[in-house]
Every structure is written in structure tokens, then in C-alpha cells.
């Protein structure tokens, strides 16, 4: 083997080695950046059952908990974000009054996802409907399409954000079902904060879960069921 051949072989070895080191470290960084390796499972359907008989008029604990958890100001101007709100309703014919929380209903067939031009509105395999903040162009078509008025537009720059819940001026946002808590085994802040346990959170697909058993045994309804969106949030006592 000539001197040149040996040098050439040495050069190739070094190059392959350097490339392997570069790619391997890149791959490691990539996997770190991706977080947990397993994604959301389609075997799970996260949902909530809200017992309106237990929900007290005037109580705002779920709203406050949501605001604190997600770094919302709690303001109620038309330009302020409200991911969850209390609605007071009164039956016009009977006069019966009820109070209930309203938020993203995490539909199985979400209109916001259908209309989003850039796929920024998306539904995870486990049924949670989210907005990809890096893809949202702020066209607000999803806000027009949502039957529950669940979405808010960020009208101005945000400060002191919760690192788990990034928000950005010029993009649309809504209840994430506290996905950052769910992914580490927790439950949504509103459900945890309710003093009367009126908001039951769990996996609708798991027959042993409290929510699945309750949905099986008590009458509950979906709001605007006529639209056949199959929301993951159900209401009892309406």
C-alpha cells in the first residue's frame, strides 16, 4: 500500500469518526428537545364531567385557579383572554337558575381544527385540542368557528409568563386542559380547585375511571349536541 493510500485511508477514517460524533450528539440533543419519547395515546380520551348541581353561583374558584396556573391576568375586558368562564343561566319558562363553567370542550370533531389554514389548531391523539403557538398566524378563523366561544386572541405583549404555558401576542389560545399537568400525571387546575368537586376529570375510555363510571350511570349532556362534535366535556343536571 502506497504512502498516499494510507493517508487517504486515515483521512476517511477520521472524517467518518468526526461525522459520527457530530450526528450522534445532534441526535441526542434532538431527543432531549423532544422531551418524553412516547406521545399521547389514542387509547385515552381525556374529558370532564361537570355537575351543575354542585357548581355554586358566585363561586369563581375554577376561574381563579386557571388564571393562576396559566399566567392569565384575570381581566374581563373584551380584549382579555378568558380560558374558562362562569356562565349563569336561568330557564325562561321555569325560572330555574344554574351556574356552570364553560371552556374549550375538546371536541372529537373540532371545527377550530377543520378551519385552521396552517394546522396550528390540532387535536392530540388523547383528545386534547391545542394551538401550536409557533404555527398560529393569528387569522382568528378558529374563533369564528368555535360554537362555545372558547378561544381568545392575545391582543398585546405578555410578561411574566408561566414557562409551562407559553403565550404570544398575535396568536390564539384556549384551555389546554392543563396538558402540562396531565402529561406528568396531574389533573387540570380547575378540577383540582373546585371546592364542591363539581368538575370530575379523567379518561372517558377507561371503564374503571370515575368519570367513565359516572357518565355511564347518570344523565349528562353535551352542549350544542346538535352540531355532533362529540365534546369531551359533559354536563350533569342541565
Amino acid at each position: 500500500m502506497s504512502e498516499i493510500d494510507i493517508q487517504r485511508r486515515q483521512f476517511l477514517k477520521t472524517s467518518v469518526g468526526a461525522a459520527a460524533v457530530a450526528i450522534a450528539s445532534g441526535m441526542m440533543l434532538y431527543s432531549v428537545a423532544q422531551g418524553k419519547s412516547e406521545g399521547a395515546s389514542s387509547k385515552v380520551r381525556w374529558g370532564m364531567l361537570i355537575d351543575t348541581n354542585q357548581c355554586k353561583p358566585g363561586c369563581n374558584d375554577c376561574v381563579t385557579a386557571c388564571n393562576n396556573e396559566n399566567g392569565l391576568s384575570g381581566g374581563t375586558l373584551p380584549t382579555d383572554s378568558q380560558w374558562i368562564r362562569k356562565i349563569e343561566i336561568k330557564d325562561i319558562s321555569s325560572g330555574r337558575e344554574l351556574s356552570l363553567p364553560m371552556m374549550c370542550q375538546h371536541c372529537e370533531h373540532p371545527p377550530c381544527v377543520d378551519v385552521c389554514p396552517t394546522n396550528a389548531s390540532m387535536k392530540r391523539a388523547d383528545g386534547i385540542v391545542l394551538v401550536d403557538k409557533h404555527r398560529c398566524i393569528g387569522c382568528r378563523y378558529c374563533m369564528m368557528a368555535c360554537p362555545y366561544k372558547a378561544r381568545s386572541f392575545v391582543h398585546e405583549a405578555q410578561h411574566d409568563q408561566n414557562p409551562d404555558v407559553p403565550r404570544g401576542k398575535g396568536t390564539v389560545e384556549s384551555c389546554t386542559l392543563c396538558v402540562h399537568r396531565i402529561d406528568v400525571g396531574g389533573k387540570p387546575a380547575c378540577s383540582e380547585a373546585c371546592p364542591n368537586k363539581a368538575i370530575i376529570f379523567g379518561d372517558l375510555n377507561d371503564p374503571n375511571s370515575e368519570i367513565a363510571q359516572k357518565v355511564h350511570s347518570v344523565a349528562s349532556v353535551q352542549i350544542r349536541a346538535d352540531l355532533r362534535l362529540n365534546p369531551g366535556v359533559r354536563y350533569q343536571g342541565l
Binding site: 373584551p78 343561566i89 330557564d91 389554514p117 398560529c136 369564528m144 360554537p147 378561544r151 392575545v154 391582543h155
Partner: protein, 397 residues
Amino acid sequence: MASSTPTLESLRTKNRLYWLLLAIGGLVAMAGMYAVHMMESHGHIITGMNNQIVWGMPHVFAIFLIVAASGVLNVASIGSVFGKAIYKARAPLASLLSIAMLSGGLTVLMLDLGRPDRIIVAATNYNLTSVFAWNVLLYSGMVGLVVVYLWTMMERRMNPYNKMAGIGVFVWRFVLTTGTGLIFAFLTARQAYGSALLPPMFIVLSFAWGMAVFHLVQTSIYMWNEKEIAPAILQRKKHLLGVFVLGSLYMVATYHFTNAYFSHQQGFERFILMDGGVYPSLFWWGYIVLGNIVPLVLLYAPGIQRDRWTALASLLVVTGGFALLYVFIIGGQAWPLQLFPGYEVSSTFADGQISAYSPSIYEFLLGLGGLSIAFLITTVSVRVLNFMPQDKPYIAD
């Protein structure tokens, strides 16, 4: 066609006037850019839009421009597809106006986005179920197709392909305006929208608005060149505009009658046509009286033959168009979503309430900026290229 011989002095004056027009258009466009800059740095907080009235004044301007951009091509279609000579002579001008208005309208829509800097995201991620994503393709395709169509008209060697391109444009603009109507037709949860009547309604509205814009521009160009439109041609144009105005009035009436027929829609109809404050006023006075009845009188009353009356009728049709779109877009959102039929509803998020909206100066500036872009494109193109309709001695087709 009467014309006077231009003198050196009159040409100089016109030249100055041309630059003055460009300067005015440019200033308005710059004011629009200023509004965009403000909205970019402060956010939409400085507009009148909010979480209840999600789309505002910019959308009224943008949708008018886009709908009229499609309708103005009628003139071209009647020429190229149906072979009518006096329309064929006007097809290049109609095509130019279409490109100009599409550009203006799309610029407004794009710059109103919360994140206009992410335009590349919109261009590279298509959700095939989204009407907005379809429209990105439909609008850009329209501009491309009309450019080709213009080429087949203005380049002699391409003339044989003119009919083919004309048919392409004819079909495309129907699909395009259907797409614009579908933006609202698919919003099934909102009572003002979610109707299959909306795409055809937008198509017929586009005929009237496009024809009106065309007539305004044509009148200006004839005035500029100190020429008069042959009375027979004017007569045909007037009748066509009148028929389109009547047709669009029929579609709008059908939309409201259909709504009023369903008991669950009657509250909304009462709001938009009777109790809703600014919306019924704009609908009846702005759209019906100023935008339809007065123009129809101007177009059809015996003894009114002058070109300038037709121009005034056209201007009123355009004004009525803006009034109708304001009622449709803003009024439609002001009416609350019905989450609990049969219940009185209240919340901190305006549930069960009529939402208030007052557009800010920035929204107007952005919308006017879009208009000025259409104006600048038209003015410069008419100056540097030959868009003046060249009529042969008039022969009935």
C-alpha cells in the same frame, strides 16, 4: 366617440395631475403602513376588534375588494366567453382592475393577521379542510390566471389562446367567490352564517359590485382622455348594472326571508333588521336605499341618460356594498352565540349579550391602504400600458 385635440398645456396639466394622484395614493398607502406598524408593535389592542368581534373593519374592506375583483371580470367573460365585441374591448381593463383589487384586498387580509411575519408558515402549511387554505391557492391562482389572460389579449401571437384563457378565468372566478362565501357558510354555529345560500349570494353581489367599480374607473379614464362613451354602449352597461343590482337584492332578500322562516333564527333577524341600532340603519338606509333604490332610479328613470348619473349610481352601489358587508360581518358577530336555547344567559365573557364594536382609526387606515394599493396599480398601469377600451364603430352583436 367625441374627443378634443390635446394641447401642450393640457398635457402638462395632466402630467402634473397624474403625479399628484400618485402622491395622494402613495400617502394613503403609507398611512396604511403606519397602521400596520402600530398594530405590529402594540398588538390588536389598539384596534376596535376584540374576543367577541373577532373580524372588523379591515375585513369589510378586504372582502369588498376580493368580491369586486371577481365580479369585475364579468366584463371580460362576456367578451371572451360569449364573444360580445364591446365587452371584449374592455376585457384588458377589467382584468387589470381584478388584479389590482385582489392585490389590495389580500394585502389588507394578510397585514391584519396577528402574525403577518409568519406568511411563510401560511404558504407552506396547508390544512386541506380549511377554506382559508383553499383560498390562499384560489386567490394566488386567480392572479396568475388573469395575468396569462391579459397576455393572450395584449400579445398578438398569443391571441389564439385568448378564448381558452377566458374560459379558465370564467370558471376560476366562480370557484373563487364560492370560496369567499364558504368562509362564512361553514360557520355553522353562528346564526348569521352557516347557510348554503351564502356562496351564490356572494357571486351575485360580486357581479353588481364589480360592474359598479368597472363603470367608475371607465368613466374616469374616459374623462381623463376627454372622450365620451358612445350612448349605445353606455345604455347596455347601465342595463347590465341594473340587472345585477336587482339580482343581488333578490339574493340578499332570499337570505333574510329564509332566516326569518325558521323560528330559531327570528331573534337574529329582528336584531339585524329592526332592533340592532346601527345595523338596521346601515342595512335599510345604507344598503337598501342608497345602495339599491337610488341607483336603480338613476339607472332606469326616463330622461336620465348622462354618463355621470351612471357613475353616481355606481358609486352608490359600492357604498351600499360596504354597508351590507359591515352589517353582515360585524352585525353577524355582535349577535351572541346560542349555547343554551330557552335560557337567559350572562357571564364575564359577554355570553347572551350583544357585543359592542367601534372601529379604531388604524383599522380604517389599513383598509384605505388596501384601496390605495388597488388605486396605485390601476393608475400606473393605465398610464404606462394601453388599457383604454378601443371600440370599433358600434355594431349590435
